[in-house]
């Protein structure tokens, strides 16, 4: 995959004078590319004169960093106890079948990433799905369908 290293350089310049600003820098790179490209990490290592192993340590430690490309839209399916007993596995099945991926994976067109999370703290709304940061509660199969369709429709319109 080709990565625009010019963009990486610009971000590096932003943090050039700050000591040990690796985490904010990696965060910026992560939100620019929606993951941490390997070439970008190597570039940071060279330019900031920090061992690549240290960057890899940070990148694998924090959950908010990803080493594989993530989709434009993020879908988090709550699998906490309350959601689980109210049918979260069925909702998850529906979503993963629709996109033909396993939880934790991204669709081939780089549009959707589906993950499971363990409780988002809104148990009264279960079963619950967080779609791009927005909470959708009291889901059943048909409402899940509608939710996904809605996003598909929107995508069709915009493209």
């Amino acid at each position: 995959m080709n990565v625009d290293l010019g963009k990486v350089d610009k971000l590096i310049d932003k943090y050039r004078d700050e000591e040990a600003a690796y985490i904010p820098l990696l965060q910026d790179i992560n939100s620019e590319f929606r993951y941490l490209p390997r070439d970008a990490l190597k570039r940071v290592s060279q330019k900031m004169e920090v061992p690549l192993s240290h960057l890899f340590r940070l990148a694998t430690f924090y959950k908010s960093f990803s080493l594989v490309p993530r989709g434009e839209h993020e879908i988090q399916v709550c699998m906490g106890t309350a959601c689980h007993v109210r049918g979260a596995p069925r909702v998850l099945n529906k979503i993963t079948q629709q996109f033909q991926i396993y939880p934790g994976e991204t669709t081939a067109d780089q549009k959707f990433t589906v993950e499971t999370v363990n409780c988002v703290g809104a148990c009264a709304l279960g079963p619950l799905v967080v779609f791009d940061g927005k909470y959708f509660g009291h889901l059943n199969l048909s409402r899940t369908d509608k939710l996904l369709e809605g996003y598909h429709e929107e995508n069709k319109k915009s493209s």
Binding site: L41, P51, S53, H54, T60, F61
Partner: protein, 260 residues
């Protein structure tokens, strides 16, 4: 001057910075796995726990990282509390690494025949990070470091791929307390299994013996000012060539001046 009572022995600190150092200097043995005098202490293995008493307070601390600062504290290295906790830690370690000799020995010493815990994916590595510390602080390469977290935590190379930085010095294998880093050599190659890294070996320019990983001499030369040709020979040939070059001089003559 800080005066401390360790196991009812009055000791004075003379520049020692940690409790462990001070105890060892005074002949009091504290078991450790992750400590090495050459690198910064990290406090990973927790075997060096000791009990500290100050007035009425008592607490458990890792002696390898606990600074010698307060005057008049009492340290117990073998108290019932310390022994109980140390035994527990050893049981955890034994469950993780049942095949590691030093952990077996330490456990036997503490009277543990078998760990109460069973772990199915055993690993010889205890995650003390000594290898990473040596690679960073002594070698200056940082070829490996901790990656991931929680139960997935391990020491590895960037992207878990053969290392580009590794010079094949195997200092990591040398300091590893459990022997988890295995090094093999065959067909002009040195292979470090844990890092999945192969380093070609170099032949001595004189006697053709394989004597060093190919990229090590260059790295040493970049760090130290040494005559360039010196590291192209194996240890024996190096000694021989120095002796031969000396034979050109009349070393018994008083006129020989050794340049400094």
């Amino acid at each position: 001057m800080v005066r401390i009572n360790i196991d009812s022995k009055e000791v004075e600190a003379n520049g020692e910075s940690t409790l462990l150092e001070l105890a060892r200097k005074n002949g009091i043995e504290i078991p450790t796995l992750c400590h090495h005098q050459a690198v910064t202490p990290y406090g990973a293995c927790r075997l060096c726990l000791v009990e500290i008493k100050k007035e009425d307070e008592t607490k458990l601390v890792a002696s390898c990282t606990y600074p010698v600062r307060e005057d008049g504290i009492t340290v117990l290295t073998q108290s019932p509390k310390v022994n109980r906790v140390r035994k527990m830690i050893l049981e955890f370690l034994l469950a993780r690494c049942p095949e590691v000799e030093i952990i077996q020995e330490m456990s036997a010493e503490m009277g543990i025949k078998q760990s109460r815990f069973i772990l199915y994916d055993n690993d010889d590595c205890i995650l003390c990070g000594l290898c990473a510390r040596v690679c960073e602080e002594i070698i200056g390469k940082s070829a490996v470091s901790f990656t991931d977290r929680g139960p997935d935590r391990k020491v590895s190379t960037p992207f878990n791929e053969p290392s580009e930085e590794c010079v094949g010095c195997t200092a990591c294998a040398f300091v590893c307390p459990t022997g988890a880093i295995k090094v093999e050599e065959w067909d002009e190659i040195r292979f470090i299994e844990k890092w999945n890294t192969e380093i070609p070996l170099q032949k001595c320019a004189k006697c053709d013996m394989l004597y060093t990983p190919a990229n090590t001499p260059g790295y040493i030369l970049s760090k130290m000012q040494l005559p360039e040709n010196l590291l192209r020979l194996c240890e024996k040939c190096r000694r021989k060539s120095v002796a031969e070059s000396l034979s050109n001089y009349d070393v018994t003559s008083k006129n020989v001046i050794i340049k400094k």
